[in-house]
Amino acid sequence: MKKRLLIGGGIILIAVIYLLYLSFGSSVSYYVTVSEFYDRIDELLDSNVRLAGNVADGSIEWDAGEVELAFNLTEGGRDMPVVYHGAQPSGFKAGSTILVEGKYGSDGIFQASQLILKCPSKYESIDIE
């Protein structure tokens, strides 16, 4: 009795492992900073990448008509131009720490599929008046 149940459980496990194997390829992306990306650019050129950096001051361009957001992601002294076809997420402004998910385009511009803002810290120092 126990054996049959273990076989049943085993089948489920194998099915799930297969599902895992299928999903990993497209769901996993390299998580790098902007400077790390440029250092490894040959390797990461065609991969799904999650870039970490800050929104560079003065780089935000919002085309309301086309609903297109362009900005520079900066980190470690390097800048990456990013284009995102969608509205700016809540909390998006110069200096925000942000994660940009997408692929590097052949024209040198990073095409973002997703913008993930890091929640503003709740523990900023308070001005004691």
Partner: protein, 653 residues
């Protein structure tokens, strides 16, 4: 006065140590006096903890900014309603509040147990005292929750506007109540394993606390999803973020535990599955703060700079090791479940359900911690997209829905062919036919098969209800309505479970519809222009600017119409908050049973001369069904909780 709060906690810690020692010594030396002292200790801890809580809440409500915790999360402009949420917006505050709930439930347990089952309850008391001591120590010594500024600021930093919402007022407490309830179930099962002796009182209490914890935790997760949907503006309710998973995993394990204890009668409580499930449910309730306090990086939400994760991890490891040691010591007393049952019996169906739930939790766990593990092992830093979870967990959850439908067909100990009616076999055949037809003809898509799949549990439940009512009517001669309620009354746990299952089906349908049939449009409009989404046309009529001490907001006036007929006016807003130097949007949602019209104002220039604004409009079908499913959990849970041990598990009318 705040000093008194800290002293109260330190005394409570000492009393906890006292309770731990006297409970164990009392049982072993059979000293009724010591056992009673241990139980009184639990009540004293609750009293002291409540005193500390009252002092902190008083400081919050009077905006006493001398206290660091108040200054960091409250402010003069914070509405009184959200003062309580400021407490658990704090890393130490949340652990403090949760620990208080454990002390409350432990005290309730002691009062409920009375003088029954002294030995088992004594050990449970000792274990709960250990747990409570852990929480108190964290907020007294590791971080001093009563920490005071050298000089008192004039105003506090305030609560993040995203948290100033009813959902966030009740979501954390509901989760903590669920977690605390499972801590109780854990303590009780461990105690029963130590004494190898648990009677009717223990059984009743343990089951009721488990149902209660499961129900509240489930609703707590749903409220979190509701908050995310209505407040965060992205129009979704679940992103498989580590913190979200942290709340889901203990609930899934709790579900498995709940099903495992439904199977065995009181005498079979010492079985390895139930033991492991309750242990890991409790461990995963600890994994939750580990993740939320930064143990696993989560971009979306969590506490920053919290020193708790290493201690929580340590606690988890200790609990696992200690529990496994106990299991090993009691290995000869374990019941061999499923000995006399055929392959297709209900016991095995429940076991299969539990296996699948555990596999599901493993998959979610892997997806959640893998990036961190890979990084720690020196590999590349990776990120896992939500599609991983959607693609693996989706099918597993649908399999669970299927089993949920098929399970009631199985008899206890008997095989399915004898018990199942022919119509159910026809239903399953219909499902297969529909699926094959969809694949072969490519008309429609597999979601239709899923809807048919969801119908199976509903069909089976209603059939069971019908048969039960008919049988009762025949044997007692009552009319339909009385028989209907009488059958429910006699089998409360069973029908409570059925109601919860109906809730699951409704939630599943809501998730499928809103995930795969939704419509999204983003467009920038000038005043007077329109956009359409789904069957709706939205006209941008006006933009009104408002300002108060807290923020300056732009409120858009959108006229919604269908086929030229005006339906409603929706007013999404876009506000800049001065204190936070940040922008927060308030979405406008129009909910009907069929779908939600979700409108978000995502950009405008705050320029009276140029009122161009960008709108993101979503049409999400059946979203309200997700929240309605929660109502079924509530009713089902409330019904099941009133169950008493008069009828053994599995007896049918």
């Amino acid at each position: 006065m705040t000093e008194a709060g800290r002293i109260a906690l330190i005394i409570a810690l000492a009393v906890a140590a006292f309770s731990i020692i006297t409970s164990i010594v009392g049982v072993r030396t059979e000293s009724a006096r010591l056992v009673k002292a241990a139980r009184n200790g639990i009540l004293v801890i609750f009293g002291l903890y409540t005193l500390a809580l009252a002092i902190i809440l008083y400081a919050f409500f009077t905006r006493d900014y001398a206290l660091t915790i108040v200054a960091e999360h409250a402010s003069n402009d914070l509405p009184s309603l959200y003062t309580l949420s400021a407490l658990y917006a704090d890393k130490a505050g949340s652990m403090f509040f949760w620990g208080w709930l454990i002390s409350l439930f432990a005290a309730l347990l002691v009062l409920q147990a009375g003088s029954n089952e002294r030995r088992t309850v004594s050990y449970a008391v000792g274990i709960l005292a250990v747990i409570e001591a852990f929480y108190i120590a964290l907020v007294t010594f590791k971080v001093n929750i009563f920490e005071v500024y050298p000089s008192s600021p004039a105003d506090g930093f305030g609560l993040n506007p995203l948290l100033q919402n009813f959902g966030m007022l009740i979501h954390p407490p509901l989760l903590y109540i669920g977690f605390a309830g499972f801590a109780l179930a854990f303590a009780m099962v461990i105690a029963a394993f130590i004494t190898r002796d648990a009677g009717a009182v223990w059984n009743n209490l343990m089951r009721r606390w488990t149902v209660f914890a499961w129900c509240v935790l489930g609703i707590g997760n749903l409220v979190g999803m509701w908050w995310s949907y209505n407040e965060l503006g992205w129009g979704g309710y679940w992103a498989w973020d580590p913190v979200e998973n942290a709340g889901l995993m203990p609930w899934l394990l709790g579900t498995a535990f709940l099903h495992s204890i439904a199977v065995w009668g009181r005498r079979d409580f010492m079985n390895v599955w139930s033991f492991c499930l309750v242990v890991f449910t409790f461990v995963f309730t600890l994994l939750s703060p580990f993740i939320t306090h930064g143990g696993i990086e989560s971009p979306l939400h969590g506490f920053y700079g919290s020193p708790f994760p290493p201690f929580i991890l340590g606690a988890m490891i200790i609990v696992i090791i200690a529990s496994m040691v106990l299991l090993y010591l009691r290995r000869s007393d374990l019941t061999k479940a499923g000995k006399h049952t055929s392959l297709l019996s209900r016991e095995n169906a429940f076991l299969l359900t539990d296996i699948i739930l555990v596999v599901l939790v493993c998959v979610i766990l892997i997806g959640t911690v893998l990036p961190r593990v890979v990084e720690a092992l020196g590999g590349a830093k990776i990120a896992i997209d939500r599609s991983f979870f959607d693609r693996t967990c989706g099918p597993i959850m649908l399999l669970l829905v299927f089993i949920m439908g098929v399970c009631p067909l199985f008899g206890w100990g008997k095989s399915v062919w004898k018990h199942a009616g022919r119509n159910i076999i026809f239903y399953i055949l219909a499902l297969i036919v529909v699926s094959v037809a969809i694949i072969l003809t490519r008309i429609g898509n597999w979601y239709i098969a899923v809807v048919v799949l969801c119908g199976l549990p509903l069909f089976v439940i209603f059939r069971e209800w019908w048969r039960g009512t008919a049988a009762r009517r025949k044997s007692t001669g009552k009319n339909c309505v009385s028989a209907f309620f009488a059958v429910i009354n006699a089998n409360r746990a069973r029908y409570g479970g059925m109601l919860a299952h109906i809730g699951i089906v409704i939630i599943t349908l809501g998730i499928i519809a809103s995930s795969f049939y939704n419509v999204e449009k983003t467009a920038t409009l000038e005043i007077g222009e329109s956009m359409s989404a789904g069957k709706y046309t939205l006209s941008y009529n006006e933009l009104v600017f408002k300002q108060d001490s807290v923020r300056i907001s732009a409120v858009a006036d959108m006229q919604v119409s269908v086929d030229g007929k005006p339906l409603a006016v929706m007013r999404p807003s876009y506000a800049y908050w001065f204190s936070h130097d940040d922008i927060f949007a308030e979405v406008a949602v129009r909910t009907t049973a069929a779908e939600d019209l979700f409108v978000s104002l995502v950009w405008t220039d705050f320029d009276p001369a140029d009122k161009a604004a960008t709108f993101r409009v979503l049409v999400n079908p059946l979203v309200v069904w997700i929240w309605t499913g929660g109502a079924f959990f509530l009713v089902g849970g409330a019904l099941a909780i009133t169950w008493r041990e008069k009828q053994p598990a599995g007896v049918e009318e």
